[in-house]
């Protein structure tokens, strides 16, 4: 009897050991994504990150878990929860999570983090920033090429430095094409509501169109839908932001200033799988197409081959350094 017991115990031990040894080789990578409070349906930046995560789950066979932070105090808690569950990589979206990532990266020095839209400067964090001003420069140039009235508009969400960065690049791009162009500027508000205030965005867009603007670039998260509605109602043009929004009102959205959060999330997870994910600050501009303008079946008729040729020349100019695009972050620090 005791022999059998021993044998059982032995088998059990062997089984346990093999499973323990085997685990690392075929264990799936676990990646946690913490979205900021705008959530995965913001049809904008959080959406692109979520798309990248979905793609990685399908193509790379990882275990993916996404959470939407309900409020600013929960960033730290959610990241910690992933770290305690021993996730291989924690992805934090949005500059609002910077302080939480810094704290947690110090608390969990062996945990890998990816922070998008800000620079954590920690040895276990890969920080990714987009050169929004470069992409905005290109769409600003395109807007100026398509303006018959010599007036274009800009609509920002909340008046924060990030959106000023879009505005500054846009203005510079437009002035490159038409130095005399007039640019109407509106910001939607001073509270977080500015990212989801569709009716106000529509009213302000109508006002801008009535004042003679015929293209409006909107960088305001979900509020952008209001501008697209106004563009359709007035038969004018609008420019989308972050994700490809060309298909929302086909024929009225000239292009979208893409911020490829999806590519960054997907590439980082791929690098993680290959064991090549390194910490440090990585900047994505027009060179790596981390920011770009969109051309697809919805706007192919609007953006001619000539336009694209000019835009590619500008892109080459930015990459070679012949064109310097003003960066609000740099200007602001100098002040």
């Amino acid at each position: 009897m005791s022999k059998i017991k021993n044998k059982c115990a032995l088998f059990g031990m062997v089984g346990l050991l093999t499973s323990l040894l085997a685990t690392p080789s075929w264990a799936e990578l676990k990646v946690g994504l913490v979205l900021d409070s705008a959530g995965k349906d913001d049809k904008s930046f959080n959406s692109t990150a979520y798309d990248g995560m979905k793609r990685a789950e399908k193509e790379l066979g990882i275990v993916a878990k996404t959470v939407e932070a309900p409020d600013p105090s929960s960033y730290e808690t959610l990241q910690r929860a992933f770290a305690d569950k021993k996730f291989d990589l924690i992805i934090a979206i949005g500059f609002l999570q910077l302080d939480a990532v810094k704290k947690n990266a110090a608390r969990y020095p062996d945990q890998k983090f990816l922070l998008i839209d800000s620079d954590a400067q920690m040895p276990n964090v890969r920080s990714v920033m987009f050169e929004e001003q470069e992409g905005s420069y290109l769409v600003g140039a395109l807007a100026a090429m398509h303006s018959k009235t010599g007036k274009i508009g800009f609509m920002g969400g909340m008046d924060v430095p990030l959106i000023r960065r879009f505005q500054l690049g846009y203005e510079a791009g437009a002035k490159k094409i038409n130095p005399k162009i007039e640019i109407l500027i509106n910001y939607l508000g001073v509270t977080a509501e500015a990212w989801s205030n569709t009716p106000k965005a529509k009213e302000l867009a109508l006002a801008q169109y009535n004042r003679g603007a015929d293209v409006i670039f909107v960088a305001a998260g979900n509020s952008g839908m209001g501008v697209f509605d106004a563009a359709e109602a007035q038969n004018k043009l609008a420019i989308g932001v972050d994700s490809n929004q060309d298909g929302i009102k086909p024929g009225h959205i000239l292009t979208s200033m893409l911020k490829r959060g999806d590519e960054v999330v997907f590439d980082s997870i791929k690098l993680l799988k290959e064991g090549k994910l390194t910490p440090g600050l990585f900047r994505y501009g027009v060179k790596t197409k981390g920011v770009d303008y969109s051309v697809d079946s919805f706007n192919a008729k609007l953006v001619s081959a000539d336009d694209r040729k000019k835009l590619e020349e500008l892109r080459a100019g930015i990459i070679s350094g012949k064109i310097s695009v003003p960066d609000y972050y740099v200007i602001q620090k100098k002040k």
Partner: protein, 372 residues
């Protein structure tokens, strides 16, 4: 009188009755929420377990729950105190925003603190006073408008919320801006402004402040229920005409209750700025000012009742992220749903009236039978 009927009679006492209403309302809301979870395909027990672990699971979790609760206690007070004087303060969000930016500006307002180490023990009380005054003065504006001009406080407080957001954004971006950062936040406060958290909370930003908050609630309770000033407030709130007939100035009650309510809301800045981020960040508040309305309503304006009420909402706020994280199908919205259902449960006066009339007739019948 038997013990049972004595118990039944005690249920008719208004404080006890409103307490029971609140508890039953919360339970009703929670049950409805759990039924919805069941339909969504998650076991209600699993949900309860997640909520429990998210609150008491570790020192950190409990500390974070308290960190979510403390601002709600303060904004609950900010709504409840004017409520006792008959005013509905929707402006706690604006008052706390200005309070927070005032607290964050204290190192700039009094720069010699940094150069004189002997004065540094004054830093925290000074910052707290600034926060209280900023919130209080912002709250006093609708109080004065109501007293002098008869402007409805609901309208003015809502409008002042937006103005406060605008002022704080301007200050954070242009005047007090942190030169090291590209974001809309103010300068980092020096070390001697920081409140030390308890080590037992393992990183959650909550320390002795929680005792001070609890003590504050008790003091406010005594002030409202025992002092002459508090009596005047309540008299105006119950019946302003009767109060005026007896020579109590309703104007003074309105202005003072709005000043104190606003000031208490301004102290949220102490919790957030001195305790947590050590600077003002735009959009730091998880709608504390608005959830504070729900906290005060669930407590039915009772000052001590704000403690359990704020804790319940703090727990749900802390738990909403965990629900998203630990389940496949439930998202953070469920927690908002439960909060809404609780308010609905407490607010469904008709239901409670039917229940209490039923109870009353039974008690009366019992008494009649005894006497007859």
């Amino acid at each position: 009188m038997s013990r049972w009927s004595a118990f039944q009679t005690s249920l008719l006492h208004p404080t006890v009755r409103s307490f029971i209403k609140s508890v039953l309302g919360s339970i009703l809301g929670l049950i409805l929420g759990l039924i919805i979870c069941k339909f969504a395909g998650e076991s209600p027990f699993h949900i309860l377990k997640i909520l429990y672990t998210s609150c008491f699971g570790s020192g950190y979790d409990f500390g974070m729950t308290l960190f979510c609760t403390a601002p709600l206690i303060l904004t609950g007070l900010a709504v409840a105190i004017p409520l006792r004087a008959g005013l509905f303060n929707i402006g706690a969000e604006g008052q706390l925003t200005l309070g927070a930016i005032a607290v964050a500006s204290s190192s700039v307002v009094w720069p010699s603190l940094t150069s004189h180490p002997a004065l540094q023990w004054l830093a925290i009380p000074f910052a707290a006073t600034l926060g209280f005054l900023a919130g209080g003065l912002w709250g006093a504006i609708p109080g004065v408008l109501k007293a002098k001009r008869g402007s409805h406080e609901v309208i003015t407080t809502i409008m002042l919320n937006f103005i406060a957001a605008g002022i704080s954004a301007y200050l954070a971006i242009y005047v007090l801006k942190d030169p090291e950062s590209t974001q809309a936040q103010t300068v980092f406060l020096p070390e001697f402004f920081h409140l030390k958290p308890f080590t037992i909370f393992n990183g959650a930003p909550m320390g002795h402040l929680i005792w001070i908050t609890l003590l504050g609630v008790v003091l406010f309770h005594l002030w409202i229920t025992k002092s002459a000033w508090g009596y005047k407030l309540r008299a105006v709130g119950e019946n302003e005409l009767a109060a005026e007939t007896y020579g109590i100035s309703k104007q003074r009650s309105w202005m003072s209750s709005m000043f104190i309510g606003g000031g208490v809301a301004g102290l949220v800045g102490v919790v957030e700025v001195l305790g947590n981020s050590h600077r003002f960040k735009m959009g730091f508040s998880a709608d504390y000012g608005f959830v504070g309305i729900a906290v005060a309503l669930l407590a039915r304006g009772n000052i001590l009742g704000i403690l359990p009420s704020a804790f319940l909402f703090g727990m749900l706020q802390k738990g909403s992220g965990s629900l998203d994280l630990e389940t496949e199908k439930i998202t953070r919205e469920l927690s908002y749903l439960i909060q809404g259902l609780i308010i609905l449960g407490v607010a469904s006066e008709g239901l409670w009236e039917i229940l209490s009339t039923h109870l009353k007739t039974r008690v009366l019948k019992g008494a009649k039978r005894k006497n007859g």
